[in-house]
């Protein structure tokens, strides 16, 4: 056993040593930047074909049509004619920075044990130097809601930007949301014990839902009292009831969604967001009626059932949007952490299936910013907002043309290099030198 421990320690040291050296975070913006000539995709549905964008001290100061406005260029000037400029993409419900190599347990901080864990905070485990986080940036994904997994109430998420020395520097909105894994009407059958294969009815569903209610009710009762004895989980619910902490319900089934809506009413919650929500389109009217937003399951996932439309995941966001539901895209699922960099292409896929491209862009910018409650700061290219944006040579929602030349977070020009680009260069050079 001891030997094993030593090996483990050596392995951990070896891993952490050899893993990626992170790009150095960019310093605070000191000089104004002017970007001219790019097609600006504002993120609210609008575009400016030949734009003039200026930002200073980390904030956007001008977003104008360069052809109709005369405005003095300021500071560093970037000619972006023929290129495209976008607000930084926002990845909600992601485990970025919580896990480095999924198969190695020692690098995995995604979930805690226990059931009701509102006090578990993702932020403090967020690894700002993660090589996976770094790999988001060359694709335009610059902001993420770092979300714990596990438990019924899995914990509290925070929103961060992806160029920071540590989690404290990274934070955009601390403890923004409480995440609930809603109970499921189905449970795995024990086929190895001879039960029929597939998922069978979960007889404890009602009980599991009522446990949630009880936890919420107990929290309220505790908070209404003198709180002489500290109860960390109940205490962590405080901002849920004040409305500061949004409630994100991870749920798929139609019945479960309806139950969650009822839960919102019963608990008098001001804001609820559904995450994943595979069957949300079936109850879209109810969601709109109750002012519930949806972070739709990533379009690059399979239909849940044989009978479903092959393109159901491609078009889910479109159906919800047409019904007036506020909708963004999330990226959880298999290989979710590293795949989050494909977020722009998830939006592109929705556009391929009938949504207007600028509307599709909102699914990963302004809509998500609204859903996360950070729309005053980020999510669009509008005056006064953070200069968190990037320039792409072409349409950033299409992998064919998503090629970043510049990216800025809070006005700071960040590196687009990564562990991966370094290896690319290193081995390209190797073969170039062989050819000489």
């Amino acid at each position: 056993m001891k030997k094993f421990k030593i090996i483990l320690v050596i392995a951990i040291i070896a891993i952490s040593e050899s893993l990626y050296a992170q790009q150095t975070p960019a310093p605070k913006q000191t000089e104004a930047v002017t970007i001219v000539g790019a097609t600006a995709h504002i993120g609210n549905g609008e575009t400016i074909e030949y734009s003039l964008i200026i930002f200073e001290n980390g904030k956007l100061t001008q977003v104008l049509d360069a052809r109709t406005t005369k405005m003095a260029y300021r500071g560093k000037i970037i000619n972006a004619e023929g290129k495209h400029i976008y607000p930084g993409f926002i990845a909600p419900n992601t485990t970025l920075g919580l896990v480095e190599v999924a198969a190695i347990r020692s690098t995995d901080d995604q979930k805690e044990i226990g059931e009701m864990l509102p006090h578990i905070r993702s932020l403090i485990a967020y690894n700002a130097e993660s090589g996976i986080v770094e790999s988001m940036r060359p694709n335009g994904v610059l902001i993420g809601q770092i979300t714990p997994r596990g438990g019924t109430i899995s914990g509290t998420s925070s929103v961060v930007q992806f160029d920071a020395w540590n989690w404290e520097d990274a934070v955009i909105k601390e403890d923004d949301g409480l995440h609930i894994n809603w109970p499921n009407s189905f449970t795995h059958g024990k086929w190895w014990e001879g039960e029929e294969r597939g998922m069978k009815l979960n007889k404890k569903y009602e009980e599991e839902v009522s446990k949630l209610s009880r936890f919420f009710n107990n929290s309220k009762a505790y908070l209404a009292g003198n709180q002489k004895k500290t109860h960390l989980p109940y205490k962590a619910m405080e901002n849920v009831f004040t409305g500061k902490k949004k409630v994100f319900v991870h749920v798929d089934g139609e019945k479960e969604i309806l139950d969650a809506i009822q839960f919102k009413k019963d608990q008098n919650l001001t804001e609820m967001v559904l995450v994943g929500a595979y069957n949300a389109h079936k109850v879209a009217d109810k969601l709109k009626e109750n002012n519930i937003a949806v972070l739709a399951q990533r379009p690059h996932s399979k239909p849940n059932q044989d009978d479903d439309d092959y393109d159901i995941t491609y078009k889910m966001a479109k159906i919800l949007q047409e019904k007036g539901v506020l909708v963004g895209l999330e990226s959880s699922g298999q290989m979710e952490t590293m795949n989050t960099r494909n977020l722009p292409f998830y939006a592109g896929t929705v556009a391929a299936n009938g949504m207007d491209k600028e509307e599709a862009l909102k699914l990963i910018t302004s809509n998500t910013a609204k859903i996360l409650g950070i729309d005053a700061i980020v999510g669009t290219l509008e005056r006064g907002k953070d200069a968190t944006l990037f320039i792409s040579e072409g349409d950033a929602l299409d992998m064919r043309t998503n090629k970043l030349t510049h990216a800025f977070i809070q006005g700071r020009e960040i590196s687009l290099d990564s562990h991966q680009t370094k290896l690319y260069k290193r081995y390209s050079d190797k073969y170039k030198s062989q050819k000489k």
């Binding site: 999924a102 198969a103 294969r197 089934g253 795949n339 292409f345 299409d398 081995y427």
Partner: protein
Amino acid sequence: MKFKFLPFILFLAGFGIQAQQYFPQNDGVKSVNTNYTVFKNAKIHIDPNTVIENGMFAIKSGKITAIGKSISIPENSVQIDLEGKEVYPSFIDIYSEFGIKKPVKAESDNNQPQYDAGREGYYWNDHIRPETNSAKLFTFDKADAEKLQKIGFGAVNTHFPDGIIRGTGMLVTLNTEGTEGDRILKDRSAQYLSFDKSVQSRQSYPTSIMGAMALLRQTYLDANWYPKGNAQYNDLSLEALNKNKDLIQIFKTDNLLDVLRADKVGDEFGIQYVIFGSGNEFEGLKEIKNTNATLIIPLDFPDAYDVENPFLANYVSLQDMKRWNQAPANLKMLAQNEIPFVLTAYNLKDEKKFKTNLLKAISYGLDKKAALAALTTTPAKILGQENKLGVLKEGAWANFLITSGDFFEEETILYENWVQGQRKVLENINRVNLAGNYKLKVSGNEYDLKITGKPGSPKVEVKLAETKIKSKITYEDTWLNLLLSSVDTTKTEFIRLVAKIPSKTDQISGKAILNNGSETTFTAIKTGDASSLDDKKKNDIYDVLPVTFPNMAYGFDVLPKQENILFKNATVWTNTKDGVLENTDVLIQNGKISGIGKSLNAGNARVIDATGKHLTSGIIDEHSHIAGSSINESGQNSSAEVSMEDAIDPTDINIYRNLAGGVTTVQLLHGSANPIGGRSAILRLKWGSTANDMIFEAAPKFIKFALGENVKQSNWGSTSRFPQSRMGVEQVYMDYFSRAKNYEQTKKSDKNFRKDIEMETLVEILNGERFITCHSYVQSEINMLMKVAESFGFRINTFTHILEGYKVADKMKEHGIGASTFSDWWAYKYEVKDAIPYNAAIMYDAELTVAINSDDSEMSRRLNQEAAKSVKYGDVPEEEAWKFVTLNPAKLLHIDQYVGSIQPGKDADVVLWTGHPLSVYSKAEKTLIEGVVYFDLEKDLKMREDIARQKNLLTGQMLQEKNKGEKTKPVVKKEEQDIHCDTLEIY
């Protein structure tokens, strides 16, 4: 009262237990009963096709001695008059576990997989148990025997249901009076097999269907080799298997695909199995018929799902709903297609369901004669007992049923089941059927009386005018008791009626005892017939939905046909030196591309306007795990003997979804559990076709190898299998290929050599007849395998995944090895920490043949986008990036002379895209394979409507079923599983 039993006692005297002829008698004088019993005036079903009206037969000592219209009646005979009754041969069940104790499950003591056999002196694999002799495990179970007799069976072929080869079964009668000596008609009456492992051993191998098939094949080969005298040891299993060779071989399967798989193995070794089917044979009648097998069909139909709750109902798949709807028609369809079958009560949880289900099958069109044959003559014939069982003729066992009429009618009562001349009374033959409507007059009141139900268990409804009266009826022996409550239900007042039932029941009269205790008389006069059935239980039949191909959502009503098509005015990605051609026509004829050019003449071809659209060759996925029933045979570190062609599942919905993503060909690879994996199946995604028809015939042979964390089981918690390190992996290859070389030598020199399927496969590799595609990640091991191959004089064809290919691209180029990689996956395990999305671009620059693969059924349906990522990461020219998912994988699979480009003469495997094929905004609009349109956006929309319509219809039927009071089962939701290289079990 006692006198009523007299007739039975007389009978018993007639057919008492026979003393065994040469056994001493220690408890009295030795007496042998040689009396005859003669049955007269019966309608006798000699066999399904021969009926004697008003016939007679005689039995003695358990056998029929004479039968016919008229036979001479011996003097010493007891006669029984069966006027109005019918006689059938008792049924035979050839698939049974009757009298056999359940096998004891082996428990683990260390939670590690067990790779070696647990036995000595037997075959190397514990799941091969031909030496099992069920006669040694048999104890007659009287209670079970009576249950079976009650539903009509007289004899069963029983066995010990454990293992892949399960040993011999035996034929036994259900005679509850005799001794084992009487009952056991034949020891070693058949050999039983299945694809299920023995529960008595934890030995890992085989973990998959293809492993089970390979094991069977190798066992047969070894059994042939063993007697030649080269074995250095005694193997009781192989000896037993050889001894069992000439027996009937009965193969248990669980589903349609396994029926075909069993037959495939049988055909290879000249064995025709009798195959236990699933009841879903109607989904593949043509293939079933081609097996030439007699099928054993469990007389069991699925219950309807409880779909009352619409939220839950949504989760039931169309496939499950259709199977419920269609299954009752299965037997009819088998009979219509002249597919021989027998019926079994095996697995029926409730034996009462036997007759219910039989009648259901008949109401769905099964011919009664076919039903009777399936229970009598056909099973008898299989067992070689056609003159002894299942038929009523001289010399046959006196196994017969006495019924009140046509057995296959619901009202019919099965009175007696005689087995080996021993009478088993099931219903009193003298009891009169009271069912009917009566006017009951008692004490000045006239009641309406309605009697239903079986004679032995009648039910009654009584009304006084329109008021329902609580009542209770009992009918025992020949006495009827009827209890009527008072109209006023608050009072505890009763009228009691009692009557002796005459042989004709138009009028019943007897004594009435009123609530005040006074006695009077009553009469009940029959006014009409009432069905003896409960009205609601009537066997309604539902409209049976047509079987589609496959029989599930998005299945075709009729398989699509090859078409001649002219694509007009498309942007054509030729993948040839012609590059991308604008405004070009492509003509498809007879499954081939026949012309490319401007303004082509359509001739008789359908013209499709492709203006603004792009036409490409179909996408080829070099690394796929769709359409597989199993992926890994992880029971051994080499599994070269297994073939994915054995494990094809043509009903995987991912086939359809891949077509919707423009994929036409995939290599269904074995998983990455072992350094030497299994052989590939290269498939054309001909949705709706059979597994066999999907195989890309012209494709060469391939095998999957694997390196890295999976083969050393780094992430699986198992530490007992070699290799556990990359160092060991090299030695696995050295070992196997050295042995393969030696094997080839021996094969040449020794005509009695032991044929080894695994070695045969490796020899093919050594001789360049089989290509390797090797799952690989880090550069050290990639380099290693190239060197190993070199030292044995062959080369690796493809490194798949090859995530560090960019580090050794020069070496791969030197060895002439191709690369098939992911576009951008990384970081999911340690060995992919250096995986970079620029990998394809660097390898392309190094002039390797580069493909982008999926290994994932989600990614595979948008491989065009994955190819496009090579444009983003590393600036690969678009035409070349497109080849990453078309021409290049075709080259890697050596099928580029057929597919992978748009050129006259090549197969018409093409895709029409709504736009630029590399763009995220484009969708596959039509996907063709050999000129057949397998996916069409418009047709897809129609199919969706169809699915909704059919589900709605079937939901209605299921609700009706529940309303009728039939049993329903709770909804089960099928799990969509993400299947990859490292998937060990598909559930």
